[in-house]
């Protein structure tokens, strides 16, 4: 058991900032047994979203017990902040891994290992009548031994509503800070019509995750949200990029860049784009991988296979017992306590104090 007391934890580094700046994830040492943990610190006052979503996240995780779902250890309030303790996932999220080490996407076998674990998590969630609604690389965490766990349960929804089993849901998941979560969501979920959506919506998101892991970039990331919506509604399917799907480079650079979202931001040179393009055009992903993503990304939810069916897909036959995810993504450095990070941490403490002074205005 983990004590809900800040004094039992020694913060060791900042892992990431998330939820649009309202939360920071730290790695920490749990002093009583020297175990590494991750602590998510919410600045509850800053959150525009109500605290009930954080509560929902905790309640759902407490209820769920599965090797591929991020467990909840404990939570407590200290000062004006809420701390939620989870096991430390040493290699961070797949999104971080893609951004820092694999801009062209993960090797196919690594994709297979990750996707299999995510499907096992989904299989369990769906059996428990939950729909995850935010299956995306940033919610897929990789632990020290290569174990993969799904997080992001704050947007999960139960098909049990007021004690009655619903066949379909109709509401959008709670919006995230920058509305990026919409890119992974299925057409029928986004449509918000009387038909509603069910757990097959997660399968579509898994298909988008296939593309994200393999291509490095998220499909639809560079197009306006409303165009992403109409594209999905009209049945356009994201694809895995390799020599079989990548068209002849006949377009000029700027156009290519926006279409393939290979421009990851400031400092990205045209050479980098060129390099990625050549990488895609030169590689060949297996037919079973293409097939898996196509099955998952079908417009008609009923045609998509269930998580259980997908686990039996030939794509996963390539996995051998000895395959080890950390070995496949060898360049990824595990999260380690870092002194320079700690200075940043101290600075952050100061900043938050300054803010308190700033906001202490008496206004009668």
């Amino acid at each position: 058991m983990f004590n809900p007391d800040i004094n039992d934890y020694q913060l060791t580094s900042i892992i990431t900032e998330c939820c649009g700046g309202v939360a920071v994830v730290y790695s920490a040492l749990y002093k009583p047994n020297n175990q590494n943990v991750a602590i998510k610190r919410y600045f509850v006052d800053k959150t525009k979203e109500n605290a009930s979503l954080i509560q929902q996240d905790i309640l759902t995780r407490k209820e769920l017990q599965h090797a591929n779902i991020l467990p909840y250890l404990t939570s407590f309030v200290h000062g004006k902040e809420l701390y939620v303790v989870s096991p430390l996932m040493t290699f961070g999220s797949c999104r971080d891994i893609l951004d820092h080490y694999f801009q062209e996407g993960l090797p196919e076998l690594a994709c297979a290992l990750v996707l299999r674990d995510v499907l096992q998590a989904l299989q369990y969630l769906h059996k428990q009548l939950y729909i995850h609604r935010s299956v995306r690389a940033s919610h897929v965490l990789v632990g020290a031994n290569g174990g993969v766990r799904l997080s992001g349960l704050r947007s999960a929804a139960s098909l049990m509503v007021r004690g009655r089993r619903q066949r379909h849901l109709h509401q959008l998941p709670p919006p995230d800070a920058d509305n990026t979560n919409l890119m992974w969501l299925s057409p029928e979920l986004l449509e918000q019509n009387l038909k509603g959506y069910d757990e097959k919506s997660d399968i579509y998101s898994l298909g988008v995750l296939c593309c994200e892991l393999a291509n490095g970039a998220v499909p639809f990331a560079e197009v306006p949200t409303t165009l992403m919506f109409t594209e999905k509604v009209r049945g356009s399917r994201p694809q895995l990029l390799d020599c079989s799907t990548f068209p002849e480079p006949c377009l000029d650079d700027s156009e290519m860049k926006s279409m393939y979202n290979t421009d990851s931001g400031v400092g990205d040179s045209a050479d980098g784009v060129m390099r990625l393009r050549q990488l895609y055009a030169a590689r060949k992903l297996s037919d079973t991988f293409h097939h898996l993503s196509e099955m998952a990304l079908q417009r008609e939810p009923d045609k998509r296979p269930s998580a259980t069916q997908l686990l039996n897909h030939p794509f996963f036959k390539q996995i051998r017992k000895t395959d080890y995810l950390p070995g496949l993504i060898g360049r990824v450095k595990p999260i380690k306590p870092d002194l320079s990070d700690m200075s940043a941490l101290l600075l952050q403490e100061k900043l938050s104090e300054m803010e308190i002074e700033k906001t202490t205005e008496w206004d009668f």
């Binding site: 509503v161 619903q166 849901l169 109709h170 509401q171 959008l172 919006p175 509305n179 919409l182 986004l190 449509e191 918000q192 019509n193 009387l194 038909k195 509603g196 291509n215 499909p219 197009v223 306006p224 949200t225 409303t226 165009l227 919506f229 109409t230 594209e231 509604v233 009209r234 049945g235 356009s236 399917r237 994201p238 694809q239 990029l241 799907t245 068209p247 279409m259 393939y260 079908q298 417009r299 008609e300």
Partner: protein, 446 residues
């Protein structure tokens, strides 16, 4: 098929003289000969084309003389459909869709939040129209003030308020709902719901009322016309135009004005009492609503507003029909007590045995679904065609039956059902996609 979705083109060439009333029924263009586009280029073809809009088409149908009715046989392959141009319009971050309803104050339209993709409804209020309604501006102000503080699953949420000073318009952005109980009642057999369905709605109405009364708010205009349903059948109390926030520090719930709808008004208001209990007004109106939902009738009826109010003020309500069963009958009689003090509170109603036990769906009864204004049973977003217009500028405006059947992939060997035809618009959209799919090569068509 919704006439707004497709407009048909009629050829004047085949139209007979005006005095000889013999109209062509199918609104068809001249047979399509060599060139698909001969009509569209404005080419100097001998046939001059008359464009009929929907109203004219309706008139045509009305003027049909059954004795002289003559059908020109036209091959279905010769029909050309035209997609109505949908001009995409933004208000703030919202994309406008079709009209959902119309009131004295202005229109209610569907909208889409372009950032969150959440469907919304917007009440568009025109200052000019509002001034003509008694207490119009005042009621709107009150509604906004109240809705801003109210937050409950069964109370409509006001999401955003926008103003356009230039156009003298105000936009109240609300949660999106698919139907009004009133419309559903009107479209159902016997103008009533099965008890099971009425029970679902009534219990949600009670939850909403319990919250409102707990917040010191009296609605004063509860009726099926002010109860909306969301996609997942959650009931939302709407229209707080005549609602009133009670004085928080007063032990009483005394109100002085009532402006609700006559058929749902209690005797004390019908008789013009100077002051009355606000909470008990809502109880009465909820009683009339339940009466109406389960019987299809009203406890009081009258030829005109005056007679109606007179009968409410003087008489006893028509007893609930015995077919409702004794428990529901007793509940209705209780809620419709002339003396407000004798009417039960929300808490008491919640403990009533009819409310506590969910009635089963009787044999032969069917749940009533929200009516659709369009041919679309699923209430799909009406914003999509506007978005298509915006994002796919090369959109094909015209398509023929053959194109459409080609879309269906059956080689045109089958006759189309009306349901399929009503889907023509969406097929047309899909078709246009073909021409524009070059934009996102990382995607492929289903």
């Amino acid at each position: 098929m919704d006439p707004r979705m497709c407009r048909k083109i009629s050829s004047s060439e085949s139209l007979p003289d005006a005095d000889n009333i013999e109209y062509e029924v199918s609104n068809i263009i001249a047979p399509q000969e060599s060139d698909d586009n001969f009509m569209l280029d404005g080419s100097p073809e001998p046939h001059s084309v008359t464009w009929l809009d929907n109203d004219q088409i309706d008139d045509l149908d009305l003027n049909l003389d059954p004795t002289n009715l003559c059908f020109h046989r036209v091959d279905s392959a010769d029909i050309i459909y035209r997609n109505k141009k949908k001009k995409c319009k933004m208000v703030g971050k919202y994309v406008m869709g079709d009209v959902l309803g119309e009131g004295s104050y202005g229109k209610v339209k569907e909208m889409l939040d372009s950032e969150t993709l959440c469907r919304r409804a917007v009440k568009i209020l025109k200052k000019r129209k509002l001034r003509r309604i008694p207490n119009g501006e005042q009621n709107v102000q009150r509604e906004i003030q109240l809705l801003r503080i109210l937050r409950h699953k069964n109370v409509i949420e006001l999401v955003d308020v926008m103003y356009n000073d230039e156009k003298q318009k105000m936009y109240l952005v609300m949660e999106f709902c698919v139907g009004v109980l009133q419309d559903m009642l009107e479209g159902s057999p016997g103008k009533k719901f099965p008890q099971r369905q009425a029970h679902d709605y009534f219990t949600q109405l009670l939850d909403g009322l319990e919250y409102l009364h707990g917040q010191g708010v009296v609605h004063k205009d509860i009726k099926p016309g002010n109860l909306l349903l969301t996609l997942d059948q959650t009931l939302k109390i709407t229209d707080f135009g005549v609602a009133e926030a009670l004085d928080m520090f007063s032990p009483e719930d005394t109100c002085y004005t009532g402006q609700g709808s006559p058929a749902f008004q209690p005797p004390e208001i019908a008789n013009g009492a100077e002051q009355f209990s606000g909470v008990k007004v809502d109880i009465w109106s909820s009683g009339v609503t339940l009466y109406n939902m389960t019987t299809g009738r009203y406890p009081f009826e009258g030829d005109n507003v005056y007679r109606l109010l007179e009968s409410i003020g003087r008489g006893e309500p028509a007893p609930p029909p015995p077919s409702l069963g004794p428990t529901l009958g007793a509940l209705l009689t209780n809620m419709l007590k002339r003396d407000p003090d004798l009417r039960p509170t929300v808490h008491e109603i919640k403990r009533h045995s009819w409310v506590k036990a969910r009635p089963p769906l009787e044999a032969g009864e069917r749940m009533v679904t929200p009516r659709s204004r369009r041919s679309d049973e699923l209430h799909t977003s009406t914003v999509i065609p506007y978005l298509v217009e915006r994002h796919y500028p090369s959109a094909q405006e015209y398509f023929t039956e053959r194109d459409y059947r080609h879309e269906l992939g059956d080689g045109g060997s089958r006759t189309l059902s009306t349901a399929e035809l009503s889907d023509a618009e969406s097929r047309g959209r899909k078709r246009r996609w073909h021409s524009s799919c070059g934009r996102l090569p990382s995607c492929r068509l289903t």
